[in-house]
């Protein structure tokens, strides 16, 4: 019990293992080849071999018992590689699901991040196009539906496997009241935030490497101060986002009845920190991809260059929950109390 902002030796190994895995198995060409659906079954099978889908599940259910602190490290590597596998969604969904085929990864789970509409439809579920099981809110209840995935969905900005899914057709199980879903959504926000930090980090690397190589006026464009200063903001936002997601993971893992004393800048409430992480990491990823693309000049706009894939996913992953204003207002209710109350 004392401040230690580093990764544990185990987490260092996890980061190394997953970065290495995605570097080898999922270079950007793999994400490119998986477009527009945004899913690569072969890659998912390799993720299964790694034991990743059940990492966060309890050992008595056949899982790896990893903490959220470990899972944010994994999620960041997913973002860094933009690997076309729904690992973030799956890990989040499994906070309430224990079925053996899900823990093993033979079946894929998705999180319906917005409640079902009056007709029982969950619209634009991330990973909904490929998931065998979807968990979400329908009316006043948290429900799980097992049904056949469509394996296709609307073409979208982030090349994400989105699809509308029914909350009523298929094998439907009621897990409990809608409030039960909070832990799933908190986890989804947190892991998505970590993935966005990874996107920002990769975009920074692409930009920095490009400006060191590219020459104009006889010198690397990275020697121009205007370019340098635009890039210098990125590691700041990335480190800030990473610290915030780590703090949120630590709070969700360790703190019950956390503090929300914003007036003293003392916040240890896990759910608030998870939403804060998502908002902050989304901004970081959008800024990093914006600037990195811009400093590629015209090539940044060319389909052939990888930065455009990161640019689109930064927006896709950060907007799929809802518009940031709505998310901020829900955070405001948690921080300051709701307007009525």
């Amino acid at each position: 019990m004392s401040v230690d902002l580093g990764l544990s030796p185990d987490q260092e190994s996890i980061a190394e293992l997953f970065d290495g895995f995605f570097n080898n198995e999922a270079p950007p060409a793999v994400a490119r080849a998986a477009e527009p659906l945004g899913f690569d079954r072969d890659l998912w099978n390799k993720v299964i071999e790694l034991g990743a889908p059940g990492m966060g599940s309890a050992p008595e259910n056949g899982g790896g018992g990893a903490s959220l602190g470990d899972l944010v490290v994994v999620a960041e590597t997913v973002g860094r590689s933009i690997a076309p596998v729904p690992l973030v969604d799956h890990l989040a969904a499994l906070s309430l699901l224990t079925d053996g085929d899900l823990v093993a990864g033979e079946a894929i789970a998705a999180v319906a991040v917005r409640p079902a509409d009056a007709n029982g439809v969950w619209s634009l579920v991330p990973a909904g196009a490929v998931a065998d099981v979807v968990i979400g809110i329908d009316g006043h209840e948290t429900v799980v539906v097992r049904s056949t995935p469509p394996m296709s969905g609307p073409r979208n900005h982030g090349s994400m496997p989105l699809a509308d899914r029914s909350a009523r057709e298929g094998t439907r199980t009621v897990l409990g009241p809608a409030s039960l879903f909070d832990t799933v959504l908190d986890r989804w926000k947190l892991l998505t935030a970590a993935a966005l930090v990874g996107i920002a980090d990769a975009a920074k690397e692409l930009g920095v490497n490009y400006v060191k190589e590219r020459e104009q006026f006889g010198v690397p464009v990275g020697s121009f101060q205007a370019v340098q200063h635009g890039l210098a903001d990125l590691p700041v936002a990335i480190d800030g986002g990473r610290l915030l997601t780590h703090k949120a993971a630590w709070a969700l893992d360790n703190v019950t009845d956390g503090l929300i004393d914003w007036a003293n800048n003392d916040i240890t409430d896990g759910p608030a920190l998870a939403t804060m992480s998502l908002l902050f990491a989304a901004d970081a990823a959008v800024m990093a991809t914006d600037r990195s693309l811009h400093y590629h000049g015209g090539y940044g706009f060319a389909e052939e260059y990888d930065i455009q894939m990161y640019y689109r996913r930064a927006r896709g992953w950060s907007l799929i929950l809802d518009d940031p204003t709505t998310v901020s207002l829900s955070l405001a209710d948690r921080l300051f109390g709701s307007v009525e109350g």
Binding site: L5, H229, D239
Partner: protein, 380 residues
């Protein structure tokens, strides 16, 4: 990953909170704005008396930079006038690290008791960002050094007992190599202090040095070693010693006003407020990281630059939107009826610009990050 303070540090923090509640009265906050001196001697003495300054000072007492971070963070969040203390403690830490035994014995006790303040003379009228080019000269004359020149922005010189002074001692060496840092009493004959009034009510100074004579006992960190002393100071200054959570008291003042005036239910206000709370949290985490690096034996110079760039702009953003949201009430100053946040909204709009200037401007910090963190070529 552990973001919890140890029980010992929590106890330390709670003691500081108790002292702050007792000593940081509205009168004290008011006094800093009428005198232009951002310091509270009674608070310093109490913190000194209880051994808190010694404990918080890097390298002394417990010497854990996490505790130094905790102390300054608490003072800053409470809106206490702590600038004087921050400089003094930072210099105590530098004397402890680089000074001779004689200097440590002579200087440090006066600081950690809360009695003596220190002012810093690096910048000159013609050299700020390019501080390694300063011209103030120190020339050896027998056993003595004779100092001539002038400094600009010598904040706290009107109240400090000690001065650290960056001088040029060798004209033939490259600019970073021919510098020497001195530490001397402010009452040494030959020093003149003239006030410089600022937008943020703080009164800083121009200082002149005419045949100021000191012995070798005043050399801090070795002859022609002044740049190393300077970078040690800056590593302590940037990011750990406060200056990274100035938006917290502002948000508190603004919130009180906004609730009382029915503005706080506006979605735009709530969204901006939530965003600023995120910013403040990130700023404090970056600060904590610098402190944590320092407490694990590292020198958080680069991380300090990163913290400062972020924290300062977060504060400036908060200041901009709170003043704009308050409208005309955001223009009214302390003690004027109807002033938003009792005048703090207006005050912070005047104070926030300086934060991206002193202690190394935002541009200098970005240069640092670009070159040392991103590995980009020297800028053109």
């Amino acid at each position: 990953m552990d973001f919890s303070l140890s029980p010992e540090v929590v106890e330390f923090r709670d003691e500081i909170r108790r002292i702050v509640r007792e000593f940081v009265t509205p009168e004290i906050a008011d006094r800093m704005h009428t005198t232009g001196v951002f310091d509270a001697p009674e608070l310093n003495l109490e913190l000194g008396r209880r051994g808190i300054l010694e404990r918080a000072c890097p390298g002394l007492g417990k010497g854990d930079p996490i505790e130094m971070y905790v102390m300054f963070n608490e003072l800053e969040k409470a809106g206490a006038p702590y600038d004087g203390l921050a400089v003094a403690l930072m210099i105590a830490a530098v004397v402890n690290k680089l000074g001779t035994d004689e200097q440590k014995e002579r200087i440090i006790p006066s600081i950690i008791s809360g009695e003596a303040l220190v002012c810093m003379g690096y910048s000159e009228a013609d050299f700020g960002s390019d501080v390694a080019s300063i011209k103030t000269r120190a020339v050896k004359d027998g056993d003595e050094w004779v100092i001539n020149g002038s400094k600009m922005w010598t904040t706290l010189a009107q109240v400090a007992e000690w001065l650290i002074l960056l001088t040029r001692t060798d004209l033939d060496l490259p600019k970073h190599k021919g510098l020497t840092m001195f530490i001397l009493p402010m009452n040494t004959p030959g020093i003149t202090v003239e006030p410089v009034h600022t937008l943020g009510t703080e009164i800083t100074n121009a200082t002149w040095y005419d045949d100021v004579r000191v012995g070798d006992e005043a050399v801090l960190g070795g002859e022609n070693n002044g740049w190393r002393t300077m970078t040690t100071v800056l590593a302590f200054e940037r990011g750990v010693m406060g200056g990274t959570n100035a938006g917290v008291p502002l948000l508190r003042h603004f919130h009180e006003w906004a609730v009382a005036n029915g503005v706080f239910n506006e979605p735009t206000t709530r969204e901006r407020m939530a965003r600023s709370v995120i910013d403040m949290q990130v700023a404090t985490l970056l600060t904590m990281r610098s402190a944590w690096i320092a407490s694990s034996g590292g020198m958080p110079g680069l991380e300090g630059s990163m913290t400062k760039v972020f924290a300062v702009e977060a504060y400036q953003r908060a200041s901009r939107w709170t003043q704009a949201t308050a409208g005309p009430a955001g223009l009214l100053q302390f003690h004027e009826e109807g002033a938003a946040g009792e005048g703090f909204v207006e005050y912070d709009a005047r104070h926030s610009p300086v934060m991206s200037i002193y202690g190394g401007t935002t541009e200098i910090n970005r240069n640092n990050i670009a070159e040392r963190h991103l590995g980009l070529p020297k800028s053109r």
